[in-house]
Amino acid sequence: MYGGGQVFESSSVNNELLKDEDPIKLAEFEARIARGEKIEPSDWMPKLYRKQLIRMIEQHGHSEIIGALPEGTWITRAPGFKRKLALMAKVQDEVGHAQLLYGAAETLGKSREQMIEDLISGKSKYSNIFNYPTFTWADSCFISWLVDAGAIVNQLANARGSYGPYCRALDRICAEESFHLKYGHHCVIHLATGTPKQRKMMQEAVDRWWAPMMHFFGPSDKISTHTEILTKWKVKMATNDECRQQFLDMYVPKIWELGLTIPDDKLKKNDETGEWEFTEPDWEEFKRVINGDGPLNKERLAVRRTAEERGAWVRRALAKNSEDQEYTAPLA
């Protein structure tokens, strides 16, 4: 589950990386992308393209594995067999997505170990929304339905991008996420139309999660880093605002249909522009959380770090067993 809001390099760093590129190769590369061809791992690519893709795919992979934590804690509490089995399979999918994405990023030259190390040290980011706590069962249902829905909006756009391994990973991921969405929607319908206690639980989850959900797509285009070249290279396929608008258009009516209230008085669709209007999200809070000061940043990374440390002996043993074997690049 990943919703954009990627951290990209500033344009001065971009220019620095670009200035040494061979202009003929660069022109050929851009022409291929313009024709809709996919770039494959062994093809020539600008250093900046490689760097930004690694960053984006890695952030996506991290979001999957950290995203497994807030929902994962509800596997052991899911009410009844049907929910328990479905949630187990859902969270397992998310871990599987991390595996796919790390594989795609590895084709660009960064190892999974290095990526996980950068995650744990706080050097690389993951989706902000997973720094918020899931207090109740309804919170986990909100994530399964709406955070996954938001992720699909972003991922479907990126699946039309230019880097072959990432696109293929996203195709598989989106197919699985569409089941998550159905599961999550089913859970939310049951709560929102259930007993008074269940309805209250669901409304409180919507109240808690709406602000992080609006943050999920990243800062408004008005204030986010300009990424023209990444758009031209089909690394970034839709702007943050475009994704957010698409999400609101698809899901606000469905949320209202269930009798739930969205905690934003200004939220409405402008019939003339066709755009949704809403209270500007608190981008200072977004920055604060992405820079490590959210409700659960420290805990999420601590859990990941502990898991890595506790499992290190297993990886050391496997490394010993494979000493004589040649490295095989992941299939992507």
Partner: protein, 251 residues
């Protein structure tokens, strides 16, 4: 053979699977590597799914709905062995438990597949194909980690030593044992235990792990009769936390 005897057998199978599946699902998101995270989740789903199949058989025999049976009983009403309720501990312990448990489960299911009661035989035939993969997974990892490094060998050996008394507790006999054997339902716990010892010994030898002499290991019994460690009730409290908020609600 009485229906009570049959129910007791089905309950202990279902409860073992539910509790072990629940425990193994605790690895989701925190496994030693992504591939094992995914594998443990997959097997946990199978186990919980298998328990549901057995609670459904019990429901056909007049017991309550699977959700009610699984999500409303207290620890002393569970028939699982104490082995499966122990916390996941280090990965070495979870892996060894998975190895010891699934070898026994496969033998049990091979027997039940020949059971004269069609409903039970059908379920056993269907599920044993999945258990075969669980056993293959366990064997692969026992062999990989048993002798890779001194560190991994020591961890696996001490996990094995810790697990064995509890593992023998899986074969605690019930008061209906002879009725079930006479009715040809299965060959009984002692027969499973005997075959299990043979099967695991072979894999442990290949894994470079040593098995203490069986007569020095004192089995931990009690689970089948509702006597449990202090770990089971908190597990159940967690599992039923949401469900019990309103057991009549549709979740």
């Amino acid at each position: 053979m009485t229906e009570e005897a049959l129910k007791e057998l089905l309950y202990k199978i279902a409860d073992d699977q539910l509790i072990l599946g629940h425990r193994n699902s605790e690895w989701t998101g925190v496994g030693p590597l992504l591939e094992e995270d995914i594998a443990f989740s997959s097997m946990a789903q199978d186990k919980v799914g298998h328990s549901l199949a057995f609670y459904n058989l019990l429901h056909e025999l007049g017991e309550q709905e699977p959700d009610i049976v699984a999500f409303t009983r207290n620890a002393d009403q569970f028939h699982n062995s104490q082995f499966v309720e122990l916390p996941i501990g280090d990965y070495s312990f979870s892996l060894v438990r998975h190895f010891l448990y699934d070898h026994a489960e496969l033998i049990r299911f091979n027997m039940l597949a020949e059971c004269p009661i069609d409903e039970i035989a059908d379920v056993a035939k269907k599920l044993k194909g999945e258990i075969k993969y669980h056993v293959m997974h366990a064997n692969t990892w026992m062999k990989q980690l048993g002798k890779a490094t001194e560190e991994s060998h020591n961890k696996m050996q001490s996990a094995l030593n810790e697990a064995l008394p509890y593992a023998l507790g899986m074969f605690e006999t019930s008061e209906f044992e002879n009725d079930l054997i006479e009715a040809g339902i299965y060959a009984g716990e002692a027969a499973i235990e005997l075959k299990w010892k043979d099967n695991i010994t072979m894999v442990l030898e290949e894994s470079g792990l040593s098995l203490p002499s069986w007569n020095t290991i004192k089995p931990v019994y009690g689970g089948r009769k509702g006597k449990h460690t202090d770990h089971l009730q908190p597990l159940l409290d967690e599992m039923t936390e949401v469900f019990k908020e309103d057991p009549t609600a549709d979740w």
